[in-house]
Amino acid sequence: MYAYVLRRILYAIPTLIVISIAIFLMVRMLPGDILDVLIGGDITTTEEQRQAAREQLGLTGSYVGQYFTWMGNALQGDFGISLRNAEPVSDILLNALPITLELIFLALLIATAIGIPFGVISAVRRDSAHDYASRVTGLVGVSIPNFWLATLLLLFTSRVFGWVPPLTYVSPLDDPLTNLSQFILPALALSVFPLAIIMRMVRTTMLEVLSQDYVRTARAKGVPRRKVISRHALRNALIPVVTIIGFEVGVLLGGAAIIEIIFGMPGLGNTLLQAVFNRDYPLIQAATMLIAVTFILANLFVDVLYGVLDPRISQT
């Protein structure tokens, strides 16, 4: 087990290096740099002034040199400063990460808390009215763009209750209730898609598991149905749920950007998106690496959990 985890981590290293190079090159191939963004076309700056400004920002010199400088510093824990506001990139990301992680945590919590039971009922009462209703609801969930749902939620609460989530970020450690009231709407908007998928998947997997020989054997032996479902079937149905959670963590780390923008949250996706628009290279590079590392770790965790949930999957 430990050897497996260790090997996976070792595997991740070359992957991360390639990602860092790919991102490094791609953002530099984008048209324009931070100076273009800052200057726009409206200012009568001379080429010499532009060049001096580029030098000041460390944007001159060969890509190879720039890359190794960045990598060298990053390995020593220095991710540089934002080209836009000279803040240390690590500070910006450390502020952004907890927001996005909490958002993802809550969204997936809602998704599983609703998705699993409804999926189970759907499977157990296959082709019942309940089954069809939850399947259709699930599909509607998959088909609503979350940015639209988020807008609707905001307009609804502001019109009907004269309320919007508190605008200033409050840490859950300081004031859990305010924090929750702040995160509940965006988390809800984000949860709809994973919820629908989890529900569908639990249903499918349950159907499959319920038809397996060992489940039928257990039933034949007189084990109560409820026990069969909870002990055997559900346990197996959880495996793909865990998989999808690992996947959604990766997607939402960067993909919650639009929801974060709408709710005015300076999360990871929002930060990364602005950084890309501003050609803030150090911030883009560090944010992407952070997302990649989190994604890889999340999936490693999922794989380990796999082994725990399903003893039949043995890690070699």
Binding site: V140, L210, I244, G254, L272, T316
Partner: protein, 307 residues
């Protein structure tokens, strides 16, 4: 693995083992899947609208001929938008755009993803390791960033949005197909075929591909809807279809600004997206039940390597 039972008792449909899946079973029972039929009808209708709609509702979707933000009426059954264009005409034109986005981007993902997955799963070893690392890398770069990079490098246009969405979905196809291939490759009959000296290409075509078709079809239908939604998200960032052309995604995005006093503007493109996504998903569900009711989760098997 043969018949299926739910606790309540036997279920109507029968199941085929993977080996003989290409062998025909009585069709009628399998094809009379209500959800699948509804899905097929919806998708068919949408295609009809996309192709022939403009000959039925002969209004120029880009002409700014009306007052802005008119409520639905006989002249404009879905009202008009913020520039005084007929929303129905734009929905019809948008069907074309959105379906095209769906088909082409999924086509890109299907072609490259399936190739990657087949090669990786079939040859295993070094090829597998290398290709899957590439897939890992593609997975680890956030989709939005990738889309912005591609739009930035190639310029914003519908074509490039389709390329971007296609590229973002490639790893999903690669993973799932690889998984399916690996599973097939473990069956004894493949090993015996190999032992008998059957050429690799023949094994691939005769035995591996057919087993990959079921998950592929399901993936395609699910990701058609994901692609249409992704275009909407790209429109939110201004990276999708270019003005003044209508796509459902860009209409929905623009209409947010008028939700307060022109809700119909939002409702129609929103409903259009919902209906077509429902259609594709129903179709996918139906096809899955038909082709392989035993087949595991669709989206769930996406990214994770089962070691």
């Amino acid at each position: 693995m043969s018949g299926q039972l739910v606790p309540e008792g036997p279920r109507p449909e029968t199941v085929t083992a993977p080996v003989v899946r290409t062998v025909k079973k009585p069709l009628l029972g399998r094809w009379s899947n209500p959800i699948g039929i509804v899905g097929a009808l919806i998708v068919g209708l949408m295609i009809l609208v996309a192709v022939f709609g403009q000959y039925v509702w002969v209004v120029d979707p880009d002409a700014q001929d009306y007052e802005r933000l008119l409520a639905p009426s006989w002249d404009n059954p879905m009202g008009t938008d913020e520039l005084g264009r007929d929303i129905l005409a734009r929905i019809i034109h948008g069907a074309r755009v959105s379906l095209q986005v769906g088909f082409i981007s999924v086509g890109i993902a299907m072609f490259f993803g399936t190739s990657l997955g087949l090669v990786a799963g079939y040859y295993k070893g070094v090829a597998d390791g290398l290709l899957m690392r590439i897939v890992d890398i593609m997975f680890s770069i956030p989709g939005l960033v990738l889309a912005i990079l591609i739009a930035g490098l190639l310029g914003p246009s519908r074509r490039n949005a389709m390329i971007a969405i296609g590229i973002i979905i490639i790893p999903v196809f690669a993973r799932v197909i690889r998984g399916a291939v690996l599973e097939v490759m473990g069956y004894p009959y493949i090993e015996s075929a190999r032992a008998l000296g059957a050429p690799g290409r023949r094994i691939m075509r005769k035995h591996v591909l057919p087993n990959v078709v079921a998950p592929l079809i399901v993936l395609v239908t699910v990701y058609l809807s994901v692609a249409i939604l992704a275009e909407a998200a790209l429109s939110f960032l201004g990276l999708g279809t270019q003005p003044p052309e209508a796509s459902w995604g860009s209409m929905l995005n623009t209409s947010r600004a008028y939700l307060d006093f022109a809700p119909w503007y939002s409702i129609f493109p929103g409903a259009a997206i919902m209906v077509v996504v429902l259609g594709f998903n129903f179709l996918g569900d139906g096809l899955r039940d038909i082709l392989d009711p035993r087949l595991g989760p669709v989206v769930g098997t996406l990214p994770i390597e089962k070691k």
